[in-house]
């Protein structure tokens, strides 16, 4: 294992110290392991709280700020946070209008957020939960833990965050978050595995000429292992999987994210985006907004994930609303 760390045990606390030093606009509680906006709670407004295992940066801490999250709760690398963190976050950012938990669908995350919601409820904080489960690689959800939450989390946090900023009530913010999730699908392909600092070796192995099709953000196996293909073929098979699950017709509009998994050069993501743009153009579906870059990563994994949200006018308007966070910033 070759990593820019001090010690495997101190990865999270060392990284949080760095976030605190780099971003005076954020408040980092290194004891409670909660990142909030430095300005304190927004009185009378709904607060969005998300969290999950670390190693997916900029998710979630990089999305704390005006127009997006109020708080992020980072767990250990690839391990969900504990209920105490979400409770501390809810206490810190509740402005009296309730909080929305944005939870990626993994067994551990769901349980810890559920316990936190109970604890927050006991303290009189109203909690609504939005479960994100957009990964179409998981087919048979009856016999699994269900679809995994991946790239759509960024869309949910941005769009619901904009609505909360406008002063919408808890139920409406949560419902909009659920609507964005329901309209979004993701699919990922890995070219290399990733290594958690605690494990010290790759979570899985891929030969030089192999790729994992339908990989999860922790390196969970996907649908199949195939021989490496050109970018255009990887994009086509990923979008085929997405469109098969949620068809987009001529005239539809979409928000599309081409996301690196941590180890993919930006030049390769643009190669992929060219193929994405062509795929959509051939079908007459307009890419109304796009993101190209690293937004939800898997440590140093190489590969790409594609997320497509079938967007309506309200979603696009909220997407365009000002956002000012370390990782997404426009309109400010």
């Amino acid at each position: 294992m070759k990593k820019l760390i001090n010690a495997p045990e101190s990865v999270l606390s060392d990284a949080l110290a760095g976030v605190a030093a780099a971003h005076p606009e954020l408040h980092v509680d290194t004891q409670a392991r909660v990142i909030t906006r430095a300005g304190g709670p927004s009185i009378g407004r709904v607060a969005l709280i998300s969290g999950g295992g670390s190693g997916h940066e900029p998710l979630h801490g990089g999305f704390v700020g005006t127009g997006m999250l109020h708080a992020a709760c980072p767990g250990e690398v690839f391990t969900s946070p504990v209920p105490d963190q979400m409770l501390a976050a809810a206490q810190a950012v509740n402005g009296g209008a309730g909080v929305v938990f944005i939870v990626k669908n993994y067994t551990g995350d769901v349980m810890n957020f559920e316990m936190a919601a109970d604890l927050a409820g006991d303290e009189g904080i109203e909690v609504a939960t939005v479960l994100v489960d957009d990964d179409v690689a998981v087919k048979d959800s009856t016999w699994t833990a269900g679809r995994r939450g991946t790239g759509a989390t960024v869309f949910v946090e941005k769009i619901a965050g904009a609505l909360a900023e406008q002063g919408a009530p808890l139920s409406e913010v949560a419902e909009t978050g659920r609507r964005v999730n329901a309209a979004s699908r993701s699919f990922a392909v890995a070219l290399t595995p990733c290594t958690t600092p605690a494990a010290g070796k790759p979570g899985f192995e891929l030969a030089e000429d192999e790729m994992e099709v339908g990989v999860g953000i922790h390196g969970e196996p996907g649908r199949s292992r195939e021989k490496l293909e050109p970018a255009s073929a990887i994009v086509a098979r990923s979008l085929d999987a997405i469109f098969a699950d949620q068809p987009l017709a001529e005239g539809d509009e979409a928000i599309v994210m081409v996301n690196g998994l941590g180890g993919t050069p930006l030049i390769e993501l643009y190669i992929a985006y060219a193929d994405v743009a062509e795929y959509f153009a051939e079908r007459g579906v307009r890419i109304a907004r796009n993101l190209v870059g690293n937004y939800i990563t898997s440590l140093e994994m190489a590969g790409v994930s594609l997320t497509v949200c079938k967007a309506d006018e309200q979603m696009l308007a909220l997407w365009d609303a000002p956002v000012n966070t370390p990782a997404l910033r426009w309109g400010v």
């Binding site: 295992g53 767990g75 690839f78 993994y106 067994t107 196996p221």
Partner: protein, 207 residues
């Protein structure tokens, strides 16, 4: 079982998690996300620290403290699940001692808490595959009038059998479920840590 033995059980579990950290992580990297060993070790180390100097009035207090500390420190699915098991079990035991039948009833409440939270049943390739046979064996021995030590030994053996029986199963819960048929042939890390917990109980009660 008294307060002293309960503390000894938790301490022995912490030692076992320490010793088996790499093995648990290795099992978890095959079908999960390679963090079970380090998470359990972190959790039980925190439990030992939390119990140091903690004034327990009853057996249950020690177990409730163990459970709440696990919930606060482990993360993943294991934190809430094991935390709930110890916490719910502890809540049933208010006295300074507990006999085999009281312990059996408390364990059953702990299992109910785990199954309510995780919704796993036997055969899903989870900790429940070790927990259910362990508690079944413990309860049967307790009802037959056997000692706690005998009941715990049978529970440990049953948990270990249950653990081994997870190898041919296809996972239907947790992260391993994404593997589908590829999860077959691997021993479940959660069932393995459960077996360690009951082996620790048997060792402590035997001595």
């Amino acid at each position: 079982m008294d307060i002293h033995l309960t503390r000894a059980w938790v301490q022995a579990t912490a030692t076992a998690m320490d010793q088996h950290k790499d093995h648990l992580t290795q099992l978890d990297s095959a079908i999960g996300d390679a963090d079970h060993g380090v998470n359990m070790q972190r959790g039980f180390t925190a439990v030992v620290a939390a119990l140091d100097g903690y004034e327990a009035a009853g057996v249950g207090d020690v177990l409730v403290k163990t459970g709440t500390t696990l919930i606060s420190t482990v993360g993943g699915a294991a934190g809430p699940l094991y935390g709930t098991f110890f916490r719910t079990t502890g809540k049933q035991l208010s006295g300074p001692t507990a006999d085999a039948e009281q312990l059996a009833a408390a364990f059953d409440a702990g299992l109910a808490g785990v199954q309510k939270l995780g919704a796993a049943v036997t055969g899903d390739k989870t900790m429940v595959d070790a927990l259910v046979p362990a508690l079944h064996a413990f309860g049967a021995a307790a009802r037959a009038g056997e000692s706690e030590a005998e009941a715990a030994e049978k529970a440990a053996a049953a948990a270990e059998t249950g653990m081994q029986d997870t190898v041919p199963l296809q996972a239907r819960k947790g992260r391993a479920s994404y593997l589908g048929a590829r999860s077959i042939g691997h021993q479940d890390p959660g069932a393995t840590s459960t077996a360690l917990i009951f082996r620790a109980l048997a060792e402590v009660l035997k001595s």
